[in-house]
């Protein structure tokens, strides 16, 4: 092949190269899609789990149902509803009911819960007298006394929350044996 012919062949090849379809590099697309799928799955599982109310040391349990994100009532140094502080816990324990028929009622907490209940009913198109179509999760400090917890639960039920759940920290300790020192349940 003469030099001129070789030059012509090369120029022709360069001309064809201009119109060649460039191959798409799919590697970045696959990498990005993998990352998106990974995070989407992570968010769908972890994002639905309930966060712990700040300032509350929860008791631990080895059994129980999975705790999902609900409207949360926190009882630490303050009583919070949905993350918003309502009142001081000491004040709540000392508060006197305004309803003689309901001596456990905590009036200020009742007002806050009633407001929340009404807005939930409006959102879910429920009747004003119907139970609130949502679960109220209670996260209480492990040092709390039962008299306060019972007042909080009674106040929540008076405000329309029929479904209550106690959220506690999950412990990984082994389950205790079920047959230690058996006691017959004879009447």
């Amino acid at each position: 092949m003469s030099r001129g012919r070789a030059m012509r062949a090369q120029r022709r090849a360069e001309q064809f190269a201009k119109f060649r379809i460039t191959q798409l590099n799919l590697v970045p697309l696959v990498d990005a899609m993998t990352a998106i799928v990974f995070f989407a799955l992570t968010v769908s599982t972890v994002g639905a789990l309930a966060p712990v109310v700040p300032g509350v040391t929860l008791p631990e349990s080895r059994v129980g149902n999975p705790a999902f994100q609900q409207l949360t009532l926190g009882i630490g140094a303050q009583i919070t509803v949905g993350g918003h502080p309502v009142m001081n816990t000491v004040d709540a324990a000392r508060a006197r009911s305004t309803d003689p028929a309901q001596p456990l009622l905590i009036p200020r907490l009742y007002d806050a819960l009633r407001q929340t209940a009404d807005s939930l009913r409006r959102v879910k198109h429920a009747a004003a007298s119907a139970p609130v179509p949502a679960v109220l999760a209670i996260q209480g400090d492990r040092t709390m006394r039962y008299d306060l917890l019972s007042r909080v639960m009674q106040t929540a039920r008076m405000a329309g929350f029929r479904d209550l759940t106690l959220q506690v920290a999950r412990s990984e300790a082994p389950l205790p044996g079920a047959t230690t020192t058996p006691v017959r349940a004879e009447p």
Partner: protein
């Protein structure tokens, strides 16, 4: 005849895509890191996420006194045939039920050994009355929440699904309306 120059140029052109720019392609790495940073910022809530578990509470059973109340019961399964209660105070636990003319069993203490005995007893009751999976827990006012949760845990292990928290009867101490 192709010259040596042309052959060498051709070989360089063929090798070019393999060693383009003579460096590693960092584009996929940057893409992935961008996605990770974006989603991390999106999902960060500032709250501590911990593995939580929950105890769903049922309403305490209602004692039927009048025929009107009896008519409101829709199904036979709604009627409890065994009233089972666990009273908890700081000195121990009292298990009571209405089966066989009445049952009362006191377990002293609320430590691990006492809770083991409670669990064994409740498992036995659950076996004797398999149709009943409800239990009413009545803690004293001064019992702390940690003790209550430990009792609830043992009841759940004993396969009681419907756990209700009750309150002891107390005198009304309400302030007059409008006051606090």
């Amino acid at each position: 005849m192709t010259s040596r120059f042309q052959q060498a140029k051709q070989r360089r052109a063929e090798r070019a895509p393999i060693t383009a720019h003579g460096s590693i392609n960092l584009v996929p790495l940057v893409d992935v890191l961008t996605s990770i940073v974006f989603f991390s910022l999106l999902t960060y809530q500032g709250n501590a996420m911990a593995a939580l578990t929950s105890f769903d509470l049922t309403l305490p059973p209602v004692v039927i006194n009048t025929p009107e109340q009896a008519q409101s019961v829709k199904r036979e399964e709604d009627v409890l045939n065994l009233l089972l209660a666990v009273r908890v105070d700081n000195g121990g636990m009292l298990v009571e039920h209405s089966g066989g003319g009445g049952f009362h069993h006191r377990i002293d203490g609320v430590d691990d050994a006492a809770l083991d005995r409670l669990q064994a007893l409740m498992t036995d009751i659950r076996t004797q009355y398999p149709q009943n999976s409800d239990v009413l827990v009545i803690p004293a006012d001064d019992v702390n929440y940690d003790t209550i949760v430990r009792v609830l845990e043992r009841l759940r292990i004993a396969r009681f699904a419907g756990i209700a928290l009750g309150t002891r009867e107390r005198a009304a101490s309400a302030a007059p309306r409008g006051g606090r």
